[in-house]
Symmetry: C2
Subunit: 89 residues, 2 copies
C-alpha cells in the first residue's frame, strides 16, 4: 500500500496522522452507540473541525501529503461526531 | 508577537494549530470542573496523545514550526485530560 519511494519522514507523518485520525474513531463510535454526548464539549468539536480544515488548507499550501490525508479524514470524523452531539445534546 | 518576516503559510499553520490546540481547552476545562469524564473515551485520549507526540517528531524532522508548536501544546492538554480521566474514571 505504501509507495516504496516515499521518504521515511512522510511515512512517519502518515503514521502520526493515522493515530490522530483513528483517535477520533472510539469517540465517534461511543457517541453513535450510546447516543450519550452530554460530557462532550460542543465548543471543542467546533473548534477542532475549524482547526483540522485549516490544517487541510495548510497541507495543500505546503504540498504535504501526510497533513492533507490526516486532516481530511479527521474532518469527516469530527463532523460526524458534531452532528451526533447536535442531535442528542 | 508574530515575526513580520514569517511567511503567510507558516502563519496559516500557526493559526490552524492554535484552533486545534485550543479545541482541547473546553474539554480539559469541562473534565476539570465537572470531574465527569465517563463519556470520554480513554482509547481516544491515548491514541491522540501518541498521535500528537508523533506529529511533534514529524514537525522536528521537517523543521516545521507550526507543527512543532501546535502538537507540543496539544500533547500537554491531552495528557492533562488523560490524567483526569484516569483519576475520575
Amino acid at each position: 500500500m505504501i509507495d516504496p519511494h516515499m521518504d521515511t519522514v512522510t511515512i512517519l507523518g502518515l503514521f502520526a496522522g493515522a493515530l490522530t485520525t483513528l483517535s477520533f474513531a472510539p469517540q465517534a463510535i461511543k457517541a453513535w452507540r450510546s447516543r450519550s454526548t452530554a460530557d462532550l464539549s460542543f465548543a471543542m468539536l467546533l473548534l477542532l473541525l475549524a482547526g483540522v480544515l485549516l490544517w487541510f488548507v495548510y497541507g495543500v499550501a505546503r504540498g504535504d501529503l501526510a497533513i492533507i490525508v490526516a486532516n481530511g479524514a479527521t474532518a469527516v470524523l469530527v463532523a460526524f461526531t458534531l452532528a451526533l452531539k447536535a442531535q442528542n445534546g
